[in-house]
Symmetry: C2
């Protein structure tokens, strides 16, 4: 793989030279021979003056081809479009697969969207407006209308001929959708089916009638999971009248699966890992909101400890174990949160019952709490030669872990019930909340047992 | 989508009835009409007696078809194979795509593997042994040898004819690999290319000569990323002599991308979220190793605080802020860890320089630390009417956050350098370690300033 990367680097240097020297023919030949992804990589490595040269050397269609492989939420996307001639940018968006074009338009200011759409053909603009209309995180929001469908009364040979005509514009030609006169989806054919069957066979005889579909309103995560489960290359999307309106391809499913995983990961960490910055001030500005919010929650814990100051001054040994108890409970709560969030991400009939999940986590907390508590009782009992103190710490730890597991599982459940993403209940939030409950448990128990361990 | 699920449930109930009543013909017709994934879903919902009925009704080939869609690391896989007739199990494994069969065999005891392989045809067994030989997390470990390749001297029509012959056994026929007489890969054709070009065109004229490949030794994560970047349906794999030995299909890339994300997520949480159990004892047994290990690390923090007991007894107010400082630094360290692990996951030329990343995180820690420290100085100063105390807490917090960011970025880097998965540096580990450093910083600073704030 490195070999290819090395060659690519040399090739990119030669390309840049050709572009700078105005060797249009050399540049075009070399550039158009590259994979679209490598083209976009080269393009994104250019400075603005070279990019502007490139727009003169390549037509909008050729630029659109590789724009299909650029992430739609690229921060500088607005600027890239703005530096193109407006008609050129509109043509390029029009030439892209419409799901990718719609994804880019979604991130642009409304007036830019209107301007680009007004410069496209009427039917293309209508098509794109329709896609923009769907919620971005639904099947409608990620589907493309660039699919191939054929009428059910054709035979295999006719379908193949139709496919050849549409091949240039379709995002995939490996699945062909069979519709009736009302555009209702009645079957699906793979290109494999078309190749291996006799060209005079009727489509209805060779198609799979039992088509798995998504509705335009389905959540993108569910749709991606379906594509993954069934190993599909594309999944058809139908509207409320069961009419075929688009398809979702496997490359979009990968993006969705990865986005969802990144968002869970970011939630657990309390920081958006998708938008990292090398600039410490920018990076800090992304992290401070959570940290400062949690600082205030942490202040409640400090206030609570302050409330027990007379207890602490009569038994300063208690201070020694504060961080051990809050820390261990926080660790247990984080585990519980992670398991709950992952289990809630499961869809369909395997989705866990909420009450059952919380009870399971509390029981798990009880088991881990008792074992961890016993361990710490023995350690502290021996270290401080004080079994009563050991028991106090052990009991507090067992209770704190159980409560942390309750919080770690219940809070994401409540989030989900209230319609929020359960992953928003971040790890740092759970540990900070668990600090508060752990301290409360610890000092309440210590207050009861203080006579025993101060002897 | 619900509609399909509902229909499936009814259909599954009818299937079960047909199976129980021995209505073989009805069962077979209905079952074989289903998607493989739905077949496996039905199969996995059966009890053992029904499964044994099913092995009598379906042949090994038909069972192999849906076993391709079952997760290879299913805990009960060994039992499922053991309950089949041994020859039947061997035939079934032989009929599966060989990457999936190899994945199952990898999880079986060695004597089972040998038994099944000895019951297969010699060449099939050799093929599978070769796949088993590769490290599971490399391209060789996830590739299939069920691909279609054609010789470079054919024309489009001949290639299509070859494709039709091989279609039944190949995992994908959408990419056809073009090799020379030495089996060196010289080009790739999509089925789209074959369909749209004239059947008399020479392959060398219509193929893409610039093939992107993986080496058998490449890490699976890099290969999956390549498939994703280029929107491929499959990527060819070559051996050290540049000979084509297999392909990796997009469905495997999805599994890899998801597995890697789950493993990062599990690392951050300090618990393997892939193997969750409803049984509290089993679940606890998965979580306790981390918790108990970290408990001992936490004991160092307790010992450290114990070391400062005289300081604490003369200024018990210090105990009030222990959890605030350790908690906030732990939150910052978790953010830093998550960002570092994600940035290390990037491959190729975008991979960050380690030193630069650590310095960036420390600077980010400094900025967040100073702002958070100032905030807490003001809050504590006003609350306790004691600016010196506020400054002590604020200074300690700023330093503790900076050090937590250092640990959160440096530790995964070191892991990576030492050849471990950086995600193993779990969130709980970083927070527990950060407790230790935070307490040390806090009490060191407090000792210096104690005269000022006790006035």
């Amino acid at each position: 793989m490195e070999k290819y990367d090395d060659q690519l680097e040399i090739s990119n240097a030669q390309l840049l030279l050709a572009l700078k020297n105005g060797e249009t023919k050399v540049f075009r030949k070399r550039f158009l021979d590259m994979h679209f992804y490598d083209q976009s990589h080269f393009y994104l490595s250019l400075e603005q003056p070279q990019r502007e040269q490139l727009y003169h050397v390549l037509d909008a269609h050729e630029v659109g081809d590789f724009f299909d492989t650029i992430e739609d939420d690229l921060p500088q996307m607005t600027d890239l479009l703005a530096e193109m001639d407006t008609q050129y940018a509109a043509d390029m968006l029009n030439d892209m697969f419409d799901d990718n074009a719609a994804d880019i338009l979604e991130h642009l200011p409304k007036e830019d969207v209107d301007r680009y759409l007004s410069l496209m053909g009427r039917s293309d603009a209508i098509e794109l407006r329709k896609l923009l209309h769907y919620d971005t995180e639904t099947a409608g929001g990620i589907m493309t209308t660039d699919y191939v469908s054929v009428r059910e009364d054709l035979d295999v040979g006719q379908a193949l001929a139709e496919l050849k005509r549409e091949a240039a514009d379709a995002e995939t030609i490996y699945y062909v959708y069979v519709v009736n006169a009302d555009n209702l989806l009645v079957g699906v054919l793979t290109l494999r089916d078309l190749i291996v069957n006799d060209s005079h066979a009727k489509l209805v005889e060779v198609m799979t009638p039992n088509v798995i579909t998504a509705s335009v309103h389905d959540e993108q995560a569910d749709v991606a999971q379906k594509i993954r489960d069934y190993n599909f290359i594309a999944l058809p999307v139908t509207d409320d009248q069961q009419k075929l309106v688009g398809i979702i391809t496997v490359d979009d499913a990968i993006e969705v699966i990865d986005d969802e995983a990144q968002s869970d990961y970011s939630g657990l960490a309390g920081v958006d890992v998708d938008y990292t910055s090398e600039n410490p001030f920018k990076a800090a500005s992304k992290r401070l909101p959570w940290l400062i919010t949690l600082l205030f929650l942490g202040m409640s814990t400090a206030t609570l400890i302050n409330h027990y100051e007379s207890l602490l001054s009569s038994a300063s040994i208690l201070a020694v174990f504060i961080s051990l108890i809050t820390g261990t409970a926080g660790n247990a709560g984080t585990q519980s949160l992670a398991v709950a969030v992952r289990r809630l991400a499961v869809n369909g009939e395997n989705k866990p019952k909420i009450l059952r999940l919380v009870i399971g986590e509390v029981l798990t907390g009880l088991v881990t709490g008792v074992i961890t508590g016993l361990t710490v009782t023995v350690i502290v009992g021996i270290w401080k030669q004080n079994l009563a103190l050991g028991l106090t710490i052990g009991l507090a730890m067992a209770a704190a872990i159980t409560v942390a597991n309750l919080a770690g599982s219940l809070i994401p459940m409540l989030m989900e019930k209230l319609g929020f993403d359960p992953a928003v209940a971040s790890g740092p939030f759970i540990t900070t909340l668990s600090d508060l409950t752990s301290v409360l448990i610890y000092f309440s128990i210590a207050q009861v047992f203080i006579r025993a361990f101060l002897n």
